[in-house]
């Protein structure tokens, strides 16, 4: 058993957090390589460095809870249960992709597991998660709508209107702001006079919590409490996860003109996976060997997924205009 403020975790749960973060990390690393190799036809925004957020939150969710995400959504899809094979196949434009090749990196849909979509447009996920909360409340279900979005999105009108409506109607919704300090190359400190996103919750009369987004146990604890509140009719919570993307905004983009190598290095030293590794080994909850075994298993899983994806067929051009309408 491991004890961190406000949370008790059994070994299996913690090791699963570790595994899930690795799934994202290795999958993203594979995608970055695939991008270099020309297998990815469009954009590719990796989640490397931010894995603890998606994993810490989604560990509490079932397939019936609805997640809505944004352009940096691979991690959310994987943490919600989309297979690495389906994510990679989607970015490779294959019919076996989670969106059957229609979407690519910024349009990942897997309603079967409650991954209700990522969006190339910044903002809408906040409103749609509130809407899922509205459905669940109206239908009397104890499910929750969860939005993942960046610091940049918190300056968009959708944030204001979405959080306000979720607040006044006590909707079962979670708003997870991944504050990685930049929107593309624009620093959040430039785009907002008050860089404490969590403080904005007060304007809407709902709880706002800031948490170390690189500490998966801390995220897990905060998200768990907010979800208990939401499921029991206590309304929405805004959670600001302070984190950092250690790769450029998108693959193929230059980096560093707007941030220093020193800053990047400092954050790499706070790598969420390394942090958990240290905690687990120092607290004696898992041995290095155990963890290495997990790493090897995940490596194999990603390798298989990659093979599957790149050997999958492209969709049939004749289907390009299918599914525009329900009938």
């Amino acid at each position: 058993m491991i004890d961190t403020p406000g949370v008790q975790l059994d070994k299996a749960t913690v090791l699963n957090l570790y595994r899930q973060m690795l799934v994202i990390r290795y999958c993203e690393e594979q995608l970055a390589k695939a991008y270099q190799a020309g297998l990815i036809h469009g954009a590719c925004h990796t989640y490397i460095g931010e894995e603890a957020v998606a994993v810490g939150v989604c560990a509490h969710l079932s397939h019936k809870d609805a997640v809505f995400s944004t352009h940096r959504g691979h991690g959310h899809a994987l943490a919600k249960g989309v297979t690495p094979a389906a994510v990679m196949a989607e970015l490779f434009g294959r019919v076996t992709g989670c969106s059957q090749g229609r979407g690519g990196s910024m349009h990942l849909f897997a309603p079967e597991v409650g991954m209700m979509g990522t969006s190339g447009i910044v903002g809408p996920c906040i409103l749609q998660a509130a809407g899922a909360g509205y459905s669940f409340k109206l239908l009397g279900l104890d499910q929750v709508g969860v939005a993942f979005f960046g610091d940049g999105a918190s300056n968009n009108g959708a944030f204001h209107e979405g959080l306000n409506m979720a607040a006044i109607w006590d909707l079962p919704a979670l708003f997870i702001c991944e504050n990685n300090m930049y929107a593309t190359e624009v620093p959040f400190a430039y785009a907002s006079r008050n860089t404490e996103v969590a403080q904005r919750a007060a304007g809407y009369g709902i709880p706002g919590v800031a948490v170390d987004g690189n500490d998966v146990l801390a995220v897990y604890a905060v998200a768990g409490e907010a979800l208990r509140r939401a499921r029991s009719g206590g309304g929405p919570t805004l959670i600001e996860c302070k984190t950092y993307r250690t790769r450029p905004h998108a693959e193929g983009m230059r980096d560093g003109s707007y941030r220093t190598p020193a800053e990047i290095e400092a954050w790499k030293r706070r790598d969420p996976i390394q942090l958990l590794h240290t905690t687990l080994t120092t607290e004696g909850l898992a041995s290095v060997d155990e963890l290495s075994r997990i790493e090897a298993e995940v490596q194999a899983q990603i390798a298989n997924g990659f093979e599957f994806a790149k050997n999958s067929p492209y969709p049939d051009a004749a289907t390009a205009s299918d599914y525009i309408y329900s009938s």
Binding site: G123, L127, Y134, S135, L139, G145, M165, D322, Y323, I324
Partner: protein, 325 residues
Amino acid sequence: MREMTFTTAAREGLAEEMARDPRIFVVGEGIGVRGGNFNTTAGLYELYGPMRLCDTPISERGFVGLCTGAAMTGTRPIVDFMFVDFILDAIGELFNQAAKIQYMSSGRIKMPLVLRGAIGIGNSAATHHSGSYYSIFGNIPGLRVALPSTPYDAKGLLKTAIRSDDPVLFLEHKSLLNNKGPVPEEEYVIPFGQAAVARTGQDVTVVALALMVRKTLEAAEQLAGDGISVEVIDPRTIAPLDINTILESVHKTGRLLIVDETFGPFGVGAEVAAQVIDLAFDDLDAPVRRLNGAHTPTPYSPPLEAAVVPNTQTIIQAIRDLLAE
């Protein structure tokens, strides 16, 4: 058959659907206790309460986005804009999200979302309360657009809109809301994509929508006195658009005029004209003509406002001009 107003007929349709399906809810400003600025929901709050008749903050983008998410997760939202002008603040949610998600999800997510609002020029509502914008909605794949012109159509098309799993724009012309017409007791729905032949005739085909159907029927009545026989076609929905009914009529008359209150350029008349010229070139004995409202923001002052919309006289003149071709 019993007579009722356009608004009452539409509200009866809404009430029937809300009674049969508890997943339906309505959002909008003043659609709760107040019953709607245009009485679209009068009496329903008392039956269904605040979750199913939900008053909103002034957050048009927000509640369209919220209802998009709701439609994706098991409920069937109806957004009541009061004036459709206010939808312009929500176009991103409508075009980039609601209209595209069925497609992007390969049909695994449905989008049962109705967006209703009052359209049209009149009563010095001025430029922020006189918009229609339907040709814009028709341009976007993934959307349906219904434009009833009678109480009968209002009820039948609204019920179809509510039962549809696609996002539907349901647009009600303000000057029609108090018009009375026959509405049967027994239940009915009107499928999308079926035009109504509002009046049969031999000499010329006039396609008109919403209020312009009424104006064109008046014009046709007057012209009948001079022995001119006008066929009036009301598409009722422009997405989908029933071109076949129009083609059959043009095959008979050889002449086509489209009367539309809204802006001409890239508008409904252009699309109808382009399809007819493509598909019925040899049937045409004269140029296809369009009569539109002026291509201008809508002014407030009565004489200015009257000058920017077609009326019975200008319709009559346009028909005479076309027959003279």
